[in-house]
Symmetry: C2
Subunit: 702 residues, 2 copies
């Protein structure tokens, strides 16, 4: 039993539960309808069912999560991953159902990359024989794999990796070898302790020629007893900022021989005996997977944003501080301290984050639709969508994950001191979310891919327009559309003369489109006319990618609410109730205008927006936040439908019993289990009672 107990006293009035009830009574739309619109009824029903299966199962218990050190947390995650696979097998979950349960449990574990990277690579790059050999046992978790690409000295530049796989014609084997310390595999999720197989990216060398990075699937640990196989050394890379429940690992090879069948040979291979290299068909098909992963990260950004916003918004409705003298808050007859959610600064910090979560919802939906459409087109030989989708997915991955990471930290700080407590749930969220800004393409680096596409599109369009044979029918995507509008009139000015006019989505879209096009035009001028080097323009290129992708988010938000977004084939859109539509329009306005108001620089230098507009927008924002969004704030986050089990936060509880939950959690802190700390005799008593005095004599001295 804890040596710490709290008084049997309520928090002072008003109670959190009453405050949240009051908030909920003000919501102008049905929270249930909005949740259904986002997730679909099936998903929400399944969530209830899964909660029943998970919440009270010890392997999925979260009550000790914040107290454990890394070693214990990893041990718990291994147990959890085992139990989750057993449950999935028992319940016969499909991958989508598995993922839904996995999100609820919310703890990256040692088997995550087996599902996320190892098996998908086998599927896409393995032959039928290799599927038989590796994929089938992998589906049973008999083979547990990881994806070993990154090296300690080589990350984003895959072409720079140093591990070699040399074909040995005599034995028809490959020899994996690590030639330098910099070539050690590093960061490989699941490799540290769990995996018995790895897909290894290595430079393929045959007959003395280096064919660059290729994937091999190889055993690394004994199927009998899990010891490392001879020639393989592997282990865990140690503690990290987050993700400490995953065994990110390192590995090196000492002339490790593997059979010919290890080289994943769907696209390229080496002829047994002769060692002749068979080239892959020159295909862009591999972009597909990257687009899928980046698009799915936009969806995960939504979850991160929504989770942080839920915690901070609910808590801000309960936490009270100072009295706003111009508008004192009453509860009955009493003046109470003003809930911090009533302060315009808190609204300016939190409401755009709620809006960003909804923005990511619409764009992630659209990216998934485009991904599947593109896959279908490519199968039919039509590559027209690929470049645009690939470019957008890179930039959107960068923008939305950067935004989500910053927003989670903003929410943490917006909870004041209590956001620093692990019990808020925000520190762990921040830490586990953090790798998103680096993996799957560093957020600065990958915007160059977006940039290249944008500049090419711009140059092509300019050339077409100059050719005299240009007609609007040649505009095949939204990027060309906004570039063309800009080229039609680069000196366009915003016509708004009142704050209210900024609620017009056409003005919002024009502002974003003009700014992005202007930035692209300036960069192309810098590269092509001023002959500046690519390296010297990386900052501008990054900013142009952000501008392009902010436009996409704004556009999809507006079209999504209107119901004007195309739906995936065979899907009927869930209708949005008029009340929810109106409420989401407020968020869409805020999302579009807040970004301009907060960082107007590029909008101003593009010439479309003038100084007077920025202050008009400020007024429009303050107005919509105070009058329209404030009453719906708790409703908006309730609609994200995150159960308390998922949030695991004393501050973000649905019932508002913040202080009761928070103090209860503190009683469970391990160092509270004894009243006097273990080190007292050794490290405190020598100062405070060096002579070992007892009884009244010593107390009386003070």
């Amino acid at each position: 039993m804890s040596a710490l107990r709290f008084p049997d006293l309520p928090p002072s009035e008003p109670q959190g539960a009453d405050l949240l009830a009051q908030e909920r009574s003000r919501t102008t739309f049905s929270v249930h309808d909005l949740s259904n619109y986002i997730y679909g009824e099936e998903y929400l029903e399944r969530q209830e069912k899964f909660l029943g299966l998970i919440e009270n199962e010890p392997a999925f218990d979260k009550s000790n999560r914040y107290f454990l050190g890394r070693t214990e947390r990893f041990a718990g995650a291994l147990k959890k991953d085992y139990a989750l696979v057993k449950l999935a097998q028992q319940e016969k979950w499909n991958p989508e159902e598995f993922q839904q349960a996995d999100i609820l449990i919310d703890e990256p574990g040692p088997f995550g990359l087996h599902r996320g990277m190892f098996m998908p690579t086998l599927v896409s790059q393995g032959t039928d024989e290799q599927h038989e050999l590796f994929l089938k046992p992998a589906l049973r978790y008999e083979v547990i794999g990881c994806y070993a690409q990154t090296e300690i000295g080589h990350g984003s530049n895959v072409q720079g990796i140093e591990t070699t796989a040399t074909y040995i014609p005599e034995t028809n084997e490959f020899e994996l070898h690590t030639p330098y310390l910099t070539a050690c595999k590093w960061w490989i999720g699941g490799l540290g302790k769990a995996a018995n197989h790895a897909v290894v990216m290595a430079r393929l060398i045959s007959n003395g020629k280096d064919y660059g990075p290729h994937a091999l699937c190889v055993p690394i640990r004994s199927m009998e007893d899990h010891t490392l196989l001879p020639g393989v050394m592997a282990g865990d890379i140690g503690p990290k900022f987050g993700y400490n429940t995953t065994d990110n690992g390192c590995m090196w090879f000492d002339h490790y021989r593997v059979p010919h069948v290890s080289l994943l040979a769907k696209y390229s291979s080496v002829k047994p005996g002769s060692g002749e290299y068979i080239k892959p068909p020159n295909s862009k098909l591999s972009y597909g997977t990257m687009v899928l992963i980046r698009a799915s990260l936009v969806g995960y950004a939504r979850i991160g944003l929504a989770k942080a916003a839920t915690i901070a918004t609910r808590y801000s409705a309960i936490r009270r501080q100072f009295v706003d003298k111009d508008q004192p808050k009453k509860m009955g007859k009493e003046t109470i301290e003003t809930p911090v959610l009533d302060y315009s600064m808190q609204q300016y910090r939190l409401f755009p984050i709620i809006a960003a979560a909804y923005a990511c919802h619409f764009t992630s939906k659209e990216m998934m639709r485009l991904y599947y459409l593109n896959i279908k087109n490519m199968a039919a030989g039509n590559f027209s969508l690929l470049a645009d989708v690939h470019a957008s997915s890179s930039g959107l991955k960068s923008l939305t994950t950067t935004m989500a990471a910053a927003s989670i930290e903003e929410c943490r700080r917006a909870c004041g001191g209590h956001g620093f407590s692990s019990f808020s749930g925000l520190p762990l969220l921040l830490q586990d979310y953090a790798p998103n800004v680096t993996w799957e393409g560093d957020n600065y680096m990958i915007t160059q891919q977006t940039g290249r596409y944008l500049f090419k599109s711009f140059r092509d369009l300019v050339a077409k327009r100059a050719s005299g044979k240009f007609s609007a029918s040649q505009i095949t995507n939204p990027t060309l559309a906004y570039l063309n509008t800009y080229l039609d009139n680069p000196d366009l000015k915003c016509p708004a003369t009142t704050p209210a006019q900024f609620h017009n989505p056409e003005i919002q879209l024009a502002a974003y489109g003009h700014r992005a096009a202007h930035m692209i035009a300036e960069i192309v001028h810098g590269l092509d006319v001023e002959k500046r080097s690519w390296n010297s323009m990386l900052v501008e290129i990054y900013n142009a990618s952000v501008a392009h992708c902010q436009l996409i988010l704004v556009q999809n938000f507006i079209l999504g609410i209107r119901g004007d977004m195309p739906q995936p084939e065979g899907v009927t859109a869930t209708p949005l109730s008029p009340a929810a539509k109106e409420a989401l329009t407020d968020l869409s306005d805020l999302f579009a205008l807040h970004q301009i108001h907060k960082q107007p620089g590029e909008f101003l230098t593009s010439g479309y927006i003038e100084a007077k507009h920025v202050s008009m927008m400020g007024k429009a924002i303050m107005d919509v936040m105070d009058k329209k969004i404030r009453p719906n704030a708790v409703g908006f986050v309730d609609a994200f439908a995150f159960p308390d089990y998922y949030l695991n936060s004393a501050l973000g509880r649905f019932d508002g019993k913040v202080y009761e939950a928070y103090t209860e959690m503190a009683t469970r802190e391990p160092i509270n289990q004894t009243e006097v700390i273990e080190g007292y005799e050794q490290y405190i008593k020598p100062f405070t009672n060096p002579k070992g005095l007892k009884g009244k004599s010593i107390q009386a001295r003070l």
Copy 2:
């Protein structure tokens, strides 16, 4: 012994040590001179001496720091704090020397607030009798104290605290009581487990009247055996984002009686028997301490910035990625991948952080000078400096700690994936630095104090100018000076027509001054003419404080390098060598211009800067970064003179042996101590070898 070992192979060429040597050979100034200029020779000599005392003492060992869970880390911190006090007693350190050693060890411990808040409060608010009773034993660590102000339901608004201290005339005692759960003391550093006394802020009630918060010094744990005293319940508040080596605690009182002498009575008191309240003299003296603490946080921001910049800059000189096709990097005859520090984006991310560290150096020095000058003035009845210094210290605390926290995270990300590893040193730095943005006044909230002063100054100045009796001699401080310049010509335009002209400090200062004054003028118009509420303008008020304080940083940087800053009385300025002066001028230019270039919005809307200037500044920045700062980057961070023991970073080592250190650290990871993880039999084998097959049969299956 670790089950993980690494190959006895070097990293691939070029070696980190050679790259850093090459960097250091390019530095245009003497690093030693610059270090001396910043710290003074005495400080640096002492650092060497302290390192000798500390580095090899087991209590101060850092080699396990990244591996331990919270319980073990707290146990270690208690041991460390004990050993540090013993060492300080042995070495007879003064407070300044103690602080220097404490910074090197770099681990917030359970005795930190005893020194940082408990004793200073006794000094400033205690009577001679109370000094005898509490302060003297506190200096010997017989009394170990904490400062109990914050409550779980009450943070920034001290007036809102609920704990009561009721005078009981019959016994001449005070009765401390916790009336609600929200009144539990919370976040109190050192209270959780270590302290035996507390300064408690409680509402003083006498004869039924509530006199608001007052400080009492009370025993809370037995001097005999450290158990909690009857009527007091206390414990640790649990795990946090950082600061887990400190026992932030909670406490509540159940009608706990303490003697009359507990009420710290230097300024206000209660008459024994009658309970008559004796009011404090109406004094602004208490602002002094707040200014000191906030000014010292500017100095700590410098350390945070400098530490992160040192790690990221050295690593970026070693880490290579891709080949910059326009300017391929050669090492001997070989083309090598380009060091990431050569990419303009990396420079744009890191160099302004180096510059910000130097900026904070000059401003923290100036703030300390003003603090002591103001204390001296106030003692002589001159309060003329107080308001300006108080306002600036609030805004600067907010700006510099926000900047440092963001920069530490930026440096972490700029190290790519490896910034996510604890071994980089950056995650722990980020986590332990994080509370700076919240404590001593939340960074958003306290800017209102800066705002109030700025608006009052502006109104007063406008009135004086309108009175017709205004003369420039009435301008007593730099704030009034820039406001007056603006009022002289609110439509002033920047005269620069070339990028080079932006190196002119007068233009930089004019841009910052005009922007800040314009923002202040707009807010005063909003409040006084448009009659907008204070709450509705909090965003503008925050931005105005940032603008004012950025100007202060820019100004002090420029004047500091020039040698035009006033020196504290009796201090002779260390001269700056011409080479170092030139190099620092590059950083000062970058600091001033980068902030405008990155967020030009307010500079544009103020009218002084136009769109064309922003792109000119972009060119000026790229030029100074590439040609001037790049060769000195490693020299600038070397001059911060942080020993490897302090940095505790595999990436930031002075010798550049990044990969050697990093892999060595991984071998010490606890879960690497056995080759096969403990959970294998239970959680992996049931999938991978369910039938317990042995020997060749099972290996042969693949």
